[in-house]
Amino acid sequence: MEGVAKSFGSVAALVNGSITLYPGEAHALLGENGAGKSTLVKILAGVYQQDAGTYVLDGQPRLFHGPAESQDAGIAVIYQEPTLFDDLSVAENIFLGRQPLAALRRIDRREMRKQSRAIFAQLGVDIDPNRLSKGLSVADQQMVEIAKALSKDARIVVMDEPTAALSSQEVKRLFDVVLNLRNRGVAVLFISHRLEEVFEMCQRVTIMRDGSYVRTDLIGDLTIDQVVRSMVGRELSSLYPKTDFDRGGEVLRVERLTREGTFYDVSFSVNAGEIVALSGLVGSGRSEIARAIFGIDHYDAGAVYMKGEKLKGNSPLRAMRAGIGFVPEDRRQQGLVMEYGIDHNVALASMRGLRRGFLLLRSAEDKMAVDWSTKLRLKYGRLSDAVNTLSGGNQQKVVLAKWLATSPALIIVDEPTRGIDVGTKSEVHRIIDNLASQGVAVMMISSELPEVLGMADRVIVMREGRVTAQIARADATETSIMLAATGQVVGA
């Protein structure tokens, strides 16, 4: 593949993607979140079609119109999210649509089981082909997917973050299987954030950044440090209007918070006027902690204190009463009522203060909406306009306004600038900075390292559900955060 590009509307997900795969070789594709890796894979798999660039397979230029075509050409993709059919047996999952047939075109179940067993034997895994795939562990689901790829004689196998949910023994078994695949001349494309695994397993590495190809090298020619630098390598701009001001006392304290299977033993605190960033890779448990603090998800152990008082029970209403505001990651689904006007959305979290008796005061609602829209420089036609007519940046301002109107002591912002254009981005940053200067404690979750470095007073880095480092502003660099997030250094 060379110079492949893909845009969605005005957003260019992939500007210049290039990669060359060789038989019998494991090739790592690396890059930060949003670097365009997934888009490249989906073009490879025929899910998307490239807008530009060339895609050559065995010397032939190709353009696949759907996943069925790429599968026929010998490309198998093992996606991060499970694509198995819970209600079908393992053997049927492997052979769906290609089941061995007996007379009258009926499915030959015995043959299907036999072939499944043979493939599992080659892979050295022990899974009963007769069982339903419902309830298989993530590792076993991947093995079924790999068995599916083998049954199709796939020559290219793509694995998107295959180790993210695996234990160390399971990772080892996966490595053995990958070695097995390579010995058969299969080209393996491996996407992972765990750099040590990449170095252990892959022979070649391609690095992407901001939708573009950066470099391809033999893995032996690179150090982890060089890889990280190529992945991030960006200049910090003036997007981040960070001002220094006095800190107040402690507002939020989280003690040994644990939710089985999601995060473990997480402790930290946030002071008034301080911006604390939770950093880490997608899936490291950052958003889940925010959800637990705000009372959306329950936790199994540990405690959350607001201004020294323990938050009892799990309910967003209690969290709100204790003075927490939560700007969720997915504003369209969780942050806004899309069909409501700006006015109603802004007032939604503060209705208690706006009512007289049982009636909501329309005039008070309007006044609140006007006040905040002006303060946040919201661009809108009329206040009654439905928020789904606004741009992403303006929608985010409405969500912020909703919480600011409740005058919170702590505000949690999850990916505050995702999908927002650069101009509005800096305004959102200014709003957050302003809040901190007024003594509000801010807990920010962001996948964008420049944003974390530009805004945060302190960075808490997570990896696989655990805090691996707390880095003060002075010591925080892209490299130090990336190293902690990928598990290279375990700091305190």
Partner: protein
């Protein structure tokens, strides 16, 4: 404590377990009703029950195909009605119509209804609940217009055709033999053919089915056409059984059909369930109905019992699947913590 391995086995045998437990429940009710009334277990009474169940068995087969794909067809009662009425009308105006032609016309009418609904569901991408609900009313509305004040009389229907409704073969009513054969064929098909397995795949995980190259729209469309065709066939059988038809024929059947499927173990959100289970569910509902009649219990209890049965089956399902998932979560937790 249920170990993961054990709970999987429970889940796997659930379908088979369901069929045998349905048969067991049917037999128990049978035994109880026979103690209460000696006439319950005689041949005539059993034949009557099979006759009553026949149409629901037939419709439940088609409904199962649709439900398995995570869709629903609410139009089957209306489709049955319009087919019964139009075929009766055909006999009225053309007394010499051969029986085979009556079947072809009835099935054809059903197929047309199923085609239209399946087309709107798949091509226009409208939820099947909405489309088939609209179909329910539109088809019934058309039937009301063309059937206004008309009653098909038994005298117009040829006797040889009516015999399907009351004659028996080896003691089994013909009207039950036809759905039973369809059920066996459908059950075999659902187990052993690629396209049928793809119906389960679609209902189990629609996105993954598309990624796996399954022609999702074509399969769902076909399921609706089959469901409609079987409802059309049901209309023909309805006419042979009752010989008198008006515009209200088949009203309310759709919910009884769905109840039969759910009791028979067809998952309402798709992916699992068997045709035989659904057919047994339909028979069970009729046996209960009949048992209440001989027990001199008010027939109002009939609906309440059907509802209770639905809740009971769902509760058992939930219990088993919850146990399985709890066991799994514990297992995964243990692996993660290390």
């Amino acid at each position: 404590m249920v170990t993961p391995a054990r709970s999987h086995r429970i889940a796997e045998t659930l379908t088979r377990f369901r069929a045998s437990s349905l048969i067991a429940i049917i037999l128990i009710i049978f035994a109880l009703a026979s103690i209460k009334s000696s006439g319950f277990a005689n041949l005539i009474s059993i034949q009557q029950m099979l006759t009553n169940a026949a149409l629901f068995v037939l419709l439940a087969i088609g409904e199962t195909l649709v439900l398995v794909t995570r869709n629903v067809d609410l139009s089957v009662g209306s489709t049955l009605g319009i087919s019964a009425f139009l075929v009766g009308d055909l006999f009225t105006h053309h007394p010499g119509t051969p029986i085979w032609l009556a079947f072809v016309v009835g099935i054809g009418i059903g197929a047309v209804c199923g085609t239209v609904i399946g087309f709107i569901v798949t091509v226009a991408n409208v939820p099947s609940l909405v489309v088939s609900l609209a179909g329910l009313y539109i088809i019934r509305g058309i039937l009301n217009i063309i059937g206004l004040g008309i009653q098909i009389e038994p005298s117009a229907i040829s006797l040889s055709f009516q015999k399907i409704g009351f004659e028996t073969f080896a003691g089994i009513p013909w009207i039950f033999i036809i759905p039973a054969v369809v059920a066996l064929v459908a059950a075999y098909f659902m187990r052993s053919y690629r396209s049928a397995r793809e119906l389960y795949a679609i209902g189990s995980n629609p996105d993954a089915a598309a990624l796996a190259g399954v022609p999702v729209k074509r399969r769902v469309f076909t399921a609706f056409v089959i469901s409609g065709s079987l409802a059309g066939l049901g209309g023909v059988l309805f006419l042979s059984e009752f010989a008198t038809v008006d515009a209200t024929a088949g009203t309310g059947y759709e919910l009884l059909v769905i109840a039969s499927c759910v009791i028979g173990g067809v998952a309402i959100f798709g992916g699992s369930g068997s045709v035989i289970g659904a057919a047994l569910g339909a028979i069970l509902l009729q046996v209960i109905n009949q048992a209440l009649v001989v027990s001199n219990v008010s027939s109002f209890w009939d609906s309440a019992l059907a509802g209770a049965l639905i809740l009971f089956t769902i509760a058992v399902d939930r219990l088993l699947s919850n146990r399985a998932s709890v066991a799994l979560r514990l297992k995964q937790g243990a692996v993660r913590v290390e």
